[in-house]
Symmetry: D2
């Protein structure tokens, strides 16, 4: 994974979790050219001709609230989930050690009690108010950018899922929100949103790979509009939902009527553990269930469940049972079983999103990135969920950009 | 399923087989408006605005080499495969009786011994040479068109699969082929190709829904070029291959590397019985296996097997095991199980193809229909196998046609 | 299904439900010898040599709280679930009509609001107290026995599942229970238990095919001990649990360690609808989950879920994911998908249980039948859940009985 | 895995293959008490009270025809199949090195060309005739026993599968066979049988874990009868067939009629590669298919296929589709997917068989071991294939032995 002269920061919220540590290991290994680029969308044409930032020029940092380090995290993943080669880990240990220096204590302001309990003493930055937490985040990011002389920093949220945010009037107006956040003990926003505000305050872009609210708040988008930033989200489309977004259009295009779509997910990683809280699960399931009706134009019975099965470690197994009606009212079925490692599926997409965001930044664009819909379960804007359509949208976005890209290339 | 003023013939080779009799029952039931249009692609937008021929104006006829009638065939399907409501069969029995009058003895010239054995005495038209068989077919078709005052006749091959045709020089030149076909006892072409020649000779269009060679012979296409006909094929994309054509692009677009794609099909209908002949199976499997490499750009290990399991009757169960590699060389898998009634899946597509071919004919177009690729496992032309792309190709074909359609509508 | 001279009554609680009406149709069809005996355990050796009561000598009756009749029920099952041949229904309609005369309004005393709402006006017998409901049930049963000159009546509960019964002191002492039941408005027992008491009061045997409490109450068993009756239960072992009870022993006997056993059931019949109430589901899941630990001797993570998917009608699809550890701590998995019609699986077992109970009665045995464990998810006594062991227990029970059977046969 | 004072040799034909090297690693690791005894049948009660030989007292040796060593084999398995912990391999490397000294060049006399091609120069012992090959094997075994002062040596065949042996008259008479084997270039027996003869000649017991013929030849059994040996076989029951042997009895005991049982196995190890030869596959499939009819008493349509899918390495995935008929002729289905590592499943059973054979030897029994049926797809004798029955047979064998075991224990 090589590329242009840009030099960027990839700052991960929850850096030493399964996804975060896999991203770090991946960037280290790609930097050494010791692994293939399988799984990276940006290593496919037409993206390979875009001169995107290379692995060597992506500096990794992040916030983390547990004692876990990048190296201990990948070691644990290897031992429990049977992923990564031990040689890769060994060869990348020095690089992970260097990245570790950029990993700072995170905030738990606005987090659930479960997250509080997961955090380790000494790994959490206490703040007198949400506003002060935001300021601290912003300072960390600015210092990181300055220290490493980065052209831009992309903050990616890969932390544990939060419960859905109940809408309040204060979420619609930045001025009001800003006042509320200054009060000590305010619980007006969860931490994913505070991180988004901190990123924007420091003129960093923000990508939300989780179902948490992140920047998806009117007042926060209002604030972003005035800053030198881009943003996109939310909830990475990695497994069962990815399949839904290619299979549902097939049923639609064949005029086969979906009666019921039942999905059952079992998984064993920290995400599964956090999702075992019914409130948090609600947030995840909401991201997952929206898409069927949008694609087929009616609402089949849909049911998705998620269970925490620790013996699976980082692996997720999803069984989907799809009951549909064909010609002359005949009922038929499709079932699938997806067996994938969550972090392994997510990590390359995080790297893709960082590269594509950095590209947009360099191209002078700012604000919401609606062309990245194919990466998300609950994408920005109205682009729809059909994966083929989303992919076409993405390629056309960059095809349209080709002439100006050539001009930019000449200038540099 | 209502439509314009066109009045067409839908002539099926193998009319009283599973697909043929389901098509007949479907057209009868649609004519009575007693069933939904589920399964018919042409009842989706944008096709609903094309004023395609309605069920009332599709006259069904065909060739058949067994004693089976349309009514006995659907009764058997109901009893053995648990498809169709008995009330539908009863209500449509008179209509099926009327269609039966248009069903004539077929040819077995060029067929395998297995097919010969399947045929019933008195249901087969003997011919002194392939050329004479072609003439007989052409006469049947012309008489059918004249008797029912049809604007056009579309011949659809839904007969049992044939073994692959070994290429010979005579297949490349119509004059030479024509001479060879005149010799008594010549075995230069299988019956599916003789039917195609008979159809073209009578200025009828020909659609090949099976993996048999049909019109896919250079010399036959040469002959078609001089006639007032259209043609398309081959091998309807109804189940496992349909899924391949939406799932393989997903893997490609996520840069996930396919290692192995193993498909196992069990089915219990006459198609399964005929496919139990290894030579015939080869033809079917060839249609199925081509697509993966075309879509992903490399050749994963692919293996497809088909077994005849009589207890399944018209049902087909396909298990596919897809082994793929993701980021950092991690192996993962997707499995699916497709449980569908073959005839039920195929029949509406046959009706779609007849309607769309009739539309093309009325619009004045002739020759090979490359825009119908989404219906076939082994489509005409170079359009590729990605189902979304094929669908887009199809809709764009008709969108481009909209202005001239309006003009035509005004004129009539 | 032919047999001896005994003449018995099979009285079903919930007679016109899926299971009840399938039992009725089955007995009618078996009486006509128009169907095979597939599915009937008592038509296997060694049971075929026991001269069990034949279909002709089983008189069907029951209680029902809905307008549904046996005939309308089987018609609905045929139309919605694609089970039964229409000819079978037609041929058996007169017999079903005769049985229908033995079907009387049931009670809803002690039922959940959901069951109350399901009942139809005019189909429910109101009672001033539970004791009066019990008396009414007893009278119905005595009258049925007298009218048809039956040797014995076996009451089988095939009604909708109830929530688990919270234990109270009054459940442990029949005298106290009896007093409590005399009070109007008492809710000390659910209707399944009132039916059991009514059956015992009329000297009828009682078999509980559902997870409801039925006779599994200390005070009720105390009452039964003084009566001329037998009883057994509970919750018929028909599908997923049956599989568990053969697969779990396999893992145990190979010393393969179960880590997690996740089961996901989707079903569309009335049972599924009733189970959609979380309290009722608890009862069902309790029956299902007990067995694993008993069989393997430790407690793997076990999770079973049930969802109501109306499009499946009487069909149930169960996906089980079994994660286990083998030699050198290697994790492996077994998955299965069970696709069965619930009523079709249950009905022959209900007939088996009636025949075997009548046999015990004729052999002079009374009380709890522990040898019938292989029929139940939550069997009487301590016999364990291993299906092979249960089956052996059953055959040995009858093998031991062979000499006295011969003596009895001589006497008659 | 600890035990009595016996000291035995476990000599494996194909010692450095997947199964052989896993056995070696397992014995080394068990000797260090660094792994659990999961997977070992002999570590379950009642076998734990039998004072079977412990891991420390099992000396490993064998024949091998490839350059592969035990250490290189387990390293390869770890890298390709993601089995074993690297720490286990490292800790056991010295022990594997010691075992390696007992591994000698094997014979290819009587092997297929494919096996010949797999062998490495210098790893094969050339012999002037089969008789001389047998003598060489016998010498190796005697020397091994003497060098390590072993009470008994158990030879276990874990080499690649051979094609089925066509029966010839000479196979029925040891004298005739003996003469034939003396001729140079004779091809009267495959190598698995020569190894059996070599083992018996040296008074070593022989266990055949493969579908090859081994000692299952009348003349060889005649020879064994006069020697101080035991023997058992053949084809270890580890995965799909194990499941068949617990599921088929369930269908039988519920009187559910099997219509079709279709099994599809994909696997990626050397066994899979060798099985890719249709003649060899025949041998394997024959072992697999016999059991259904024996268990259910009639012959359903059965089809088993095996495909070589290198990307799976040592993993095997089996999909079985079981179509069955229930009450009132209703068709239902069960499907399962088994995902297991072949070598990991087989290895502990090899250790079990060695321990149990050594126990029999010490108990003074000789000849064919019919009580070990639960370990094999194609067991010795007429014991049937029902796994529960086989298991009961095995436990009862040892229960019956308990009193004499106590006496023996006192004597020593």
């Amino acid at each position: 994974m090589t590329g242009g002269k840009q030099r960027i920061g990839l700052w991960m919220i929850g850096a030493c979790g399964g996804v975060g540590s896999t991203v770090a290991l991946g960037i280290a290994a790609l930097g050494k050219r010791s692994v293939s680029t399988t799984g990276l969308v940006t290593e496919l044409p037409p993206f390979t001709s875009m001169n995107l930032v290379g692995a060597d020029n992506i500096i990794v940092g992040g916030h983390e609230i547990r004692k876990q380090t990048l190296l201990s995290a990948v070691g644990e993943m290897h031992a429990e989930s049977n992923v990564f080669r031990l040689e890769t880990i060994k060869a990348c240990a020095p690089a992970l050690g260097r990245m570790q220096k950029n990993i700072l204590p995170g905030i738990v302001t606005g987090s659930t009690p479960k997250i509080h309990r997961m955090s380790d003493p000494g790994c959490v930055r206490r703040a007198s108010s949400p506003a002060s937490a935001i300021r601290a985040i912003g300072k960390d990011l600015s210092a990181f950018r300055a220290r490493h002389r980065l052209d831009h920093v992309v903050v990616v949220n890969v932390a544990s899922s939060e419960p859905p945010l109940a809408h309040r009037a204060v979420h619609d107006d930045y001025a009001a929100l800003s006042r509320a956040l200054s009060r000590s003990g305010a619980t007006v926003l969860p931490s994913s949103a505070l991180y988004a505000l901190g990123a924007f305050a420091a003129d960093c872009s923000y990508v939300n790979f989780t179902p948490s609210v992140g920047s998806r708040v009117k007042a926060i988008e209002e604030f972003a509009a005035g800053r030198d930033v881009l943003y996109a989200g939310r909830d990475g489309k990695t497994g069962e939902t990815l399949l839904k977004s290619v299979l549902a259009p097939m049923f639609a295009m064949r005029n086969l009527k979906l009666k019921s779509w039942i999905g059952h997910n079992v998984l064993g990683n920290r995400d599964g553990m956090v999702l075992d809280d019914p409130r948090v699960k609600a947030s995840k399931l909401r991201s997952k269930d929206g898409l069927l009706s949008q694609i087929v134009g009616y609402t089949p019975l849909a049911h998705t469940s998620i269970e925490y099965v620790p013996s699976l470690s980082d692996w997720k197994v999803a069984w989907d049972f799809i009951h549909f009606e064909g010609f002359l009212e005949t009922k038929m079925s499709l079932q699938f079983v997806w067996t994938g490692s969550d972090s392994i599926l997510a990590a390359p997409l995080v790297i893709d999103l960082a590269r594509l965001t950095a590209y947009e930044y360099a191209a002078g664009r700012r604000g919401r990135m609606v062309h990245l819909g194919c990466f998300f379960k609950d994408p920005e804007g109205m682009g729809g969920h059909d994966f083929s359509e989303q992919w076409r949208h993405l390629s056309e976005h960059y095809a349209a950009d080709a002439p100006s890209r050539k001009r930019r290339a000449k200038r540099t």
